[in-house]
């Protein structure tokens, strides 16, 4: 039936595609890039996806997504030092940011704060976290057995192990596979979420909050929940990052980190699931490659990319490419829309 919203076959196809693409990438990519580098690209991809979900599909522009990334990493590190086993810390790393985000989200959304004000609050909360964590070098800042360490960060915590066996570390190539599978898993969960009624309502809220509330949806609660889900994903990415770097430092909370996540989403494409992941991995790798030359400063190029994308390709790469592909193949069933942010985030929506 045309225009049908529910399309279970589509979901199955999507899942199959995810599994096949993941499998191919996990097999092929290590031939091109070392797994150590790939691992961090995957982690950044997950972080990009976390913002891509709440911004691209929920219209919540969070200037402080790095706060949840950092919270996840710190929760993991502190718990890992205290428990000496990584399973519970991994779970906490997802839960703590989610709970914090739920509280913060409730504060913001029930206060009817929107766009700029939302930006200010998320930015300020990130700054507070950064300043606080950065000034905890003294011996009085202890959680259980873990010194917070301030500027030094927390090194030397228990890294990921096979659940129940603290001495069986997962590192190197094995860790790469774990991260890849987790990213695929998160991707699938996001897909399922977006296909569910909750996901569709979220897109509706992104498009027109007032209308959705006039239709009887509690916009505040739904935005809060979506915000918390995004934070949970960012937290997971943070824990994985902590395991990869074997240290957590306050710079995880920095505004620079938040800025980068936003840039990934813009460049990759908002309103798509793949865009933020590809944007994150691509730009992070580009940054590594740029380190090879000293002709032009790295930050300068990042900035230029952002400006150019906002001016000339506000929809991002993935929607632009898929749009091109569709019109080539003659399947341009979706018409062009003016190139504004609204249009930009409307590409991939109900049918996933």
């Amino acid at each position: 039936m045309p225009g049908q919203v529910h399309n279970p076959g589509g979901l199955q196809k999507d899942l199959m595609a995810t599994v096949i693409v993941t499998g191919l990438l996990v097999w092929l990519m290590p031939m091109l890039i070392s797994t150590y580098t790939l691992t961090v690209l995957i982690i950044y991809g997950m972080l990009g996806l976390s913002l891509g979900l709440i911004w691209g599909f929920g219209g919540i522009l969070c200037f402080g997504q790095a706060a949840f990334f950092g919270l996840g990493a710190y929760s993991y590190a502190i718990a890992a030092i205290n428990f000496g086993e990584s399973t519970l810390p991994m779970i906490l790393a997802v839960l703590v940011p989610a709970v914090v985000a739920a509280l913060l989200g409730a504060l913001m959304f029930y206060g009817r704060l929107t766009d700029v004000y939302l930006g200010v609050i998320t930015l300020v909360v990130t700054l507070i976290l950064f300043k606080f964590v950065n000034s905890t070098a003294g011996p009085q800042y202890v959680i259980g057995k873990a010194r917070l360490g301030g500027f030094n960060g927390i090194p030397g915590f228990q890294t990921l192990n096979v659940p129940g066996r603290p001495e069986a570390y997962i590192w190197g190539d094995a860790y790469f596979y774990v991260c890849a599978v987790l990213l695929a898993l998160v991707f699938v969960l996001v897909t399922v979420l977006l296909r569910s009624s909750f996901g569709r309502v979220a897109v509706g809220i992104r498009e027109n909050e007032t209308r959705m509330s006039l239709m009887g949806y509690d916009v505040r609660a739904r935005k809060t929940i979506l915000f918390a889900i995004g934070a949970a994903i960012a937290g997971l990415a943070g824990a994985l990052f902590a395991n990869w770097g074997e240290i957590v430092t306050p710079s995880l909370f920095s505004l620079g980190q938040s800025a980068e996540i936003i840039i990934w989403c813009i460049v990759g494409g908002l309103g798509t699931r793949l865009g933020p992941i590809l944007g994150a991995a691509g730009l992070a790798y580009l940054k590594f490659l740029l380190g090879q030359q000293s002709l032009v400063d790295n930050t300068l190029i990042t900035g230029l990319i952002l400006v150019l994308f906002v001016l000339f390709l506000p929809r991002g790469i993935v929607p632009a490419v898929s749009g091109l592909w569709q019109s080539r193949i003659g399947r341009g069933r979706r018409s062009r829309r003016p190139q504004t942010r609204r249009g930009a985030i409307s590409r991939e929506r109900f049918n996933g």
Partner: protein, 238 residues
């Protein structure tokens, strides 16, 4: 007539020193159709916003089916089974007609029912040919019609419409009138409107607002021939 579905007592709304709605007592029976008229700034839109939860009145109470809803949020009021349409077309521009209506349907129905219900509304409102188009691409009249679809799909017992006929062609208005009558079979309807042609074609009883207060409330013909009303409102136009 049956039960009172909407009632306000002493509803007052002040913005700084300006009184936009002044001590409004209002009653609406089940399946009644009522038009609110009055010159610009008479307070009818403020009144509308206060009862639909978009604004919180400074004083006074709002009751719906006997339940006080004075400080409720729009989504809570809508959840009671109240369909609301604001003045400007308020739709999800980047989503298709089907998707828009489905979202409204899903609020009150399980997923499978929502789908059926959506189809039903699309047929009822003759939107089949544009069901897959995005709202952003549609003409004004079509968008208004879709928004009525959003209101209708929840099977409301009370419908609040703010200027549904504004800026529409005669043909569109005729179709709109039809839809509203259809809605009125099962729901009480409140319409804020300017268009006298439209009011005559649709309403029996009207409430006239003037300077934030209710000036009079009567059958449309009597109201329109009333000298006071003509003076404050129609006199300038006629």
């Amino acid at each position: 007539m049956g039960e009172t579905v909407l009632e306000t007592q002493g509803l007052t709304m002040r913005f700084g020193g300006v009184i936009a709605a002044n001590n409004v007592d209002f009653k609406l029976q089940a399946r009644e159709l009522r038009c609110l008229i009055g010159p610009n700034g008479a307070g009818k839109s403020t009144f509308f916003k206060c009862i639909s939860g978009l604004q919180t009145p400074t004083e006074g109470q709002v009751y719906m089916r006997g339940q006080e809803t004075t400080r409720w949020m729009p989504h809570e009021i809508a959840s009671l089974g109240v369909g609301i349409k604001t003045q400007t077309p308020n739709v999800m521009d980047a989503l298709s007609v089907f998707e828009n209506i489905w979202l409204a349907a899903r609020r009150f129905h399980a997923p499978s029912d929502a789908e059926r219900k959506t189809q039903e509304i699309i047929e009822r409102l003759a939107l089949g040919s544009i069901a897959r188009k995005d709202l952003g691409q549609l003409a004004h009249g079509e968008r208004q019609r879709v928004e009525l679809g959003l209101v209708a799909v929840g099977d409301p017992w009370l419908v609040l419409l703010d200027e549904p006929a504004a800026g529409m062609s005669a043909e569109d208005v005729a179709r709109m009138t039809e839809i509203i009558h259809e809605l009125n079979k099962t729901a009480a309807v409140v319409i804020v409107e300017h268009d006298m042609q439209f009011i005559r074609s649709i309403a029996e009883k009207v409430t006239v607002f003037h300077q934030g207060a209710v000036l009079m409330e009567d059958h449309v013909d009597r109201v329109l021939s009333d000298p006071t009303v003509r003076n404050v409102y129609l006199g300038k136009k006629a």
